[in-house]
């Protein structure tokens, strides 16, 4: 525990030093990143120990917080999230030293980055509702300041506002949730929280879903996410998408531990939320041509997959199917880890592209694989992983959820096929979306001048990407080991008795081992084919020429398929769910000079739900404007009237 406190202090110390040294960019980034990396290394020791089966510990410091106490603790669940948070943040910090070079204001950027990292770590180890909420709020604020770092940019300021408002609406729900629990327990300590009676328990579940769901980005609470994540610097986007939204998942899991055995309708709710978030998230992503916005929507999709896993797990445990419960929760937990790995990597890759080519608009990119071979290869691995393709890590977690759903379907449960259909559709759409993202950005010919002159990122940015890509492959090949590694946390979350849990775990590990063998077959076949082709081609003529274009003599890079044209058949098929806008000016006259065509797909929920709702609220507020007219005497009268009303209420 002392190590954990030391880690938190090191991170905060690094951030404070960076703020003080802010004038000197190099020193500030050394301090900021150094604190983050050192803190992560120190903090990983107790976390890994706990996850490897060490005893869970709590530490109670005699610092008085208003209404609560400073209690932190480590159990397998906290330890698992802590490992993910510290690991990804440390890699993002290393990347940040290269990424932020020459961007100015390094001091504040590192201060808020370290504050974000420390508050996320504190949130998952807090054992007191008040401490948890403080950490939660710190997390929101520090990430807010990172989102509006480009404060001269109007859209970044807008994104920041949306984020701040959404986050606080979520926190309001959490205040009510913890209020319910602590009123029953008579204390704000997590140890004291226990199950509520059935009706209150349902209410508490819905409150936790709303409160943590905003942070996690469940549809329709996701609107802040595609605005805020792209606006932040890329290593912060990686942290926000990779781990910050997972604190919402942590919160849900923690809340369910308090609330006791789940009724079936919780599972149905999660399944519905997961299917809607997953399918709509990837659909919205497909329609984007801003690379970072596309990735942000994919976070909504992956949170949806995690929710599907949780739904399958909850329904499994509600219907007394221990193996289904274990597979659902196991898939969800592993997907938390896997999504942190590949989404972190994707955002870091997108940042390298942004730095090199100066734009996030995919329609101006292309052909970057030749100029940025390392970034391109890492992005390719992450793209295949996020599509859930074997032999990479995304497949392992999606496989577990699929298997749970198939098992449920073979028992005749109607929710099994729902999960299967949703996951299959999500998988197909993700494949379409990431062939588009990778293909348009990295393959073909450059579509813009800056993309043609792009240069590979420095090693400080490349190294974290290579590490993450390696981890994607490792987890994909060693799926059984990964599941075994998270099993202590899984046992805590699934709520199964040990005598049910252990045999179920054995049964889940078997297929994962065979997947590894199948991956070996694949690599064997691939190696054989590579050898075959090079031996066949040895000594034969190998020519180079232009791409076949049906005899057209002067092809240009502008004739390539673009991101929008690639996605068009699918966006047209699903047009009712999207809010796509087209602006075009066709060629006119006998000798046409210019023609333009642009598409834009703003968030459907923002356009159709939130904008009308907030505009309505504003209109209603305007009607009450007459109350506020600036005459002080009348204001005093209001006060006097209110006081009198209160007195009458108390005395009468």
């Amino acid at each position: 525990m002392a190590l954990l406190l030391l880690a938190l202090l090191l991170i905060l110390l690094g951030g404070t030093l960076a703020l003080l040294l802010g004038r000197d960019e190099k020193l500030a980034s050394w301090a900021g990143a150094g604190g983050a990396v050192l803190g992560a290394l120190v903090g990983l020791v107790p976390a890994l120990e706990t996850l490897a089966g060490g005893p869970g510990t709590t530490l109670r410091l005699p610092w008085s917080l208003p209404l609560g106490g400073f209690v932190i603790g480590l159990d397998p669940l906290s330890a698992f999230f802590l490992v993910v948070i510290l690991g990804l943040c440390a890699l993002a910090a290393v990347y940040g030293t290269g990424y932020l070079r020459g961007h100015g204001r390094a001091g504040s950027a590192w201060f808020f980055f370290d504050a974000l990292m420390a508050s996320m770590a504190l949130a998952v180890v807090a054992r007191d509702a008040v401490l948890f909420l403080i950490a939660w709020e710190l997390m929101t604020l520090s990430s807010y300041f990172l989102v509006v770092r480009d404060d001269e940019d109007e859209s970044a300021r807008q994104a920041g506002w949306t984020y701040l408002i959404a986050a606080h609406l979520g926190t309001a729900a959490l205040l009510l949730f913890f209020g319910l629990l602590s009123r029953q327990a008579g204390s704000t300590s997590f140890d004291a929280f226990g199950p509520l009676d059935a009706r209150l328990s349902g209410l508490a579940f819905l409150l936790s879903l709303a409160g943590f769901g905003v942070k996690a980005g469940f549809i329709p609470l996701h609107v802040w996410l595609p605005e805020a994540h792209p606006a932040a610097p890329s290593h912060v986007s990686a942290v926000m998408s990779g781990v910050m939204i997972k604190t919402g998942i942590y919160g849900l899991l923690r809340a369910w531990i308090f609330l006791g055995p789940p009724p079936a309708w919780w599972g149905w709710t999660l399944l519905g939320v997961g299917a809607v978030s997953g399918i709509l998230g990837v659909l919205f992503a497909l329609a984007q041509h801003d690379l970072k916005r596309l990735l942000a929507y994919h976070s909504v999709e992956n949170i949806g997959i995690i929710a599907l896993g949780l739904g399958v797990g909850l329904l499994g445990s509600a219907h007394g199917l221990p193996l289904v419960a274990l597979l659902g929760f196991g898939g969800a937990l592993l997907h938390v880890l896997n999504h942190a790995l590949f989404k972190g990597l994707l955002f870091l890759g997108a940042g390298a592209v942004l730095n090199a080519a100066g734009t996030r608009d995919m329609e101006h990119l292309g052909g970057l694989l030749k100029r940025m071979p390392w970034t391109g290869a890492c992005f390719l691995i992450a793209s295949a992983a996020i599509c859930g393709l074997p032999p990479l890590n995304g497949f392992v977690s999606e496989f577990l959820i699929f298997l749970g759903a198939f098992l449920a379907a073979s028992h005749g449960a109607p929710w099994g096929p729902v999960a299967i259909g949703a996951l299959a559709l999500i998988g197909g759409l993700a494949l379409a979306c990431f062939t588009k993202a990778f293909g348009v950005v990295f393959l073909g010919e450059p579509r813009g001048e800056r993309a043609a002159k792009a240069q590979e990122a420095p090693w400080s940015m490349r190294a974290p990407m290579v590490v993450l890509a390696g981890l994607c492959v490792l987890v994909g090949l060693g799926g059984a080991l990964a599941l075994d590694w998270v099993s202590p946390a899984l046992s805590q979350v699934s709520g199964l008795r040990l005598e049910d849990f252990l045999p179920a775990l054995e049964e889940a590990l078997g297929p994962l081992q065979l997947i590894t063998i199948s991956a070996c077959f694949f690599f064997l076949a691939l190696a054989g084919l590579i050898a075959l082709r090079s031996s066949l081609l040895a000594g034969r003529e190998r020519g180079e020429s232009g791409t076949w274009d049906c005899g057209y003599a002067a092809p240009s890079a502008r004739m390539q398929y673009t991101a929008s044209s690639f996605a068009q058949p699918l966006t047209e098929l699903f047009a009712p769910f999207l809010c796509a806008r087209e602006r075009s000016a066709g060629p006119e006259g006998l000798f046409p000079e210019r023609a333009t065509f642009a598409t834009e797909t703003p968030d459907a929920f923002r356009e159709r739900l939130y904008r009308p709702a907030f505009e309505g609220a504003l209109k209603a507020a305007w009607k009450l404007r007459w109350l506020q007219h600036g005459r002080i005497q009348l204001y005093v009268l209001y006060i006097a009237l209110t006081l009198m009303a209160l007195l009458l209420w108390r005395l009468g």
Binding site: L403, K436, F521, Q560
Partner: protein, 304 residues
């Protein structure tokens, strides 16, 4: 052991199926047609050639044919043929099967985009569109069979089938699942009514256009991979429709092979008698495949 035998049989005989399809079409058109072994001659010819690569392409273009052939071959190790169990069988291998086909598709599409050609981009876009709709149909149809058999591995799904099971109360569910799988089979193998393997107009191609820039051994790998995919998805279909079970493994394998040859003839007949669908109607047909699979699931749930 018998799994290994099936794998070798598939690797050897898969191109023959394409020869049978083409011969059937030729007979319908009143031509003599190419020899049955023509696909083998084509492969041999291509393997003896050199290679020409576009200057636009990168290593992804060169990796595409290799990865998609290797992943299809790895998927074959999971497939049972008739009553013969697969080389690898474990609960959930059907998801791995779909995933491996997806991996091949990912690299085929990436290789197409790597050429920078508008035609190949168009082909990749359409391939992505088809597969989005085919994936749920495939997995839901397999889920219906999982419900019927209570098993979760492909070998388990197909193990208990026989002609009697088709007539038993669970039979209609199986037939509906087979109908869904048949549509997926035609779509994934780029057959009429989804795509026309014989078309010569780049604008109307789907799968063929993605291989426009490949030549020599790479093209051989692509064509061989297509034959293996035909075999792989074909066994899923014939396993339900022609569940012939004999006592000995060699007879079972022979029955399985005959089933696949009949399927190839059927594909040839379909390609000869119906026209290709208009592109915008394809999504309707694939959505109806998903609907058939859902219906199969509902019936399977009601069957004891």
């Amino acid at each position: 052991m018998s799994g290994l035998f099936h794998l070798l049989l598939a690797l050897l005989c898969a191109p023959l199926l394409l020869g049978v399809v083409n011969r059937t079409k030729a007979l319908f058109a009143g031509r003599a047609g190419a020899p049955l072994l023509q696909p083998y001659f084509d492969l041999l010819k291509l393997l003896q050639k050199g290679a020409v690569y576009s200057r636009t392409t990168s290593w992804v273009f060169r990796a595409g044919p290799l990865v998609s052939l290797a992943s299809t071959a790895a998927a074959l190790t999971l497939l049972p043929l008739g009553g013969l169990p697969a080389l690898l069988a474990f609960p959930g291998d059907l998801v791995l099967f779909a995933g491996l086909l997806g991996l091949g598709r990912f690299f085929t599409m990436a290789a197409a985009l790597d050429t920078g050609s508008a035609f190949e981009g168009m082909g990749a876009s359409r391939e992505a569109w088809y597969s989005v709709l085919a994936e749920p149909a495939l997995l839901l149809a397999l889920a219906a069979m999982a419900k019927r058999s209570g098993q979760l591995s492909l070998s388990g799904l197909y193990a208990g089938l026989s002609l009697e099971t088709l007539l038993a109360p669970g039979g209609p569910a199986l037939l509906l699942a087979a109908a869904a799988l048949a549509l997926v089979f035609l779509a994934e193998n780029s057959r009429i009514p989804f795509d026309d393997p014989n078309t010569h107009l780049e604008l109307t191609m789907v799968h063929e256009v993605m291989a426009l820039d490949h030549g020599g051994p790479d093209l051989a790998f692509i064509q061989y991979g297509a034959a293996l995919k035909f075999w792989a998805l074909g066994t899923l279909l014939t396993g339900i429709l022609l569940p012939l079970r004999e006592a000995s493994p060699s007879l079972d394998a022979l029955a399985g092979l005959c089933g696949l040859l009949l399927l190839a003839v059927a594909v040839g007949v379909v390609e000869s008698v119906i026209a290709r669908l208009r592109l915008t109607k394809v999504s309707d047909l694939l959505a109806s495949a998903t609907a058939l699979a859902v219906l199969a699931l509902m019936l399977a749930r009601r069957a004891p």
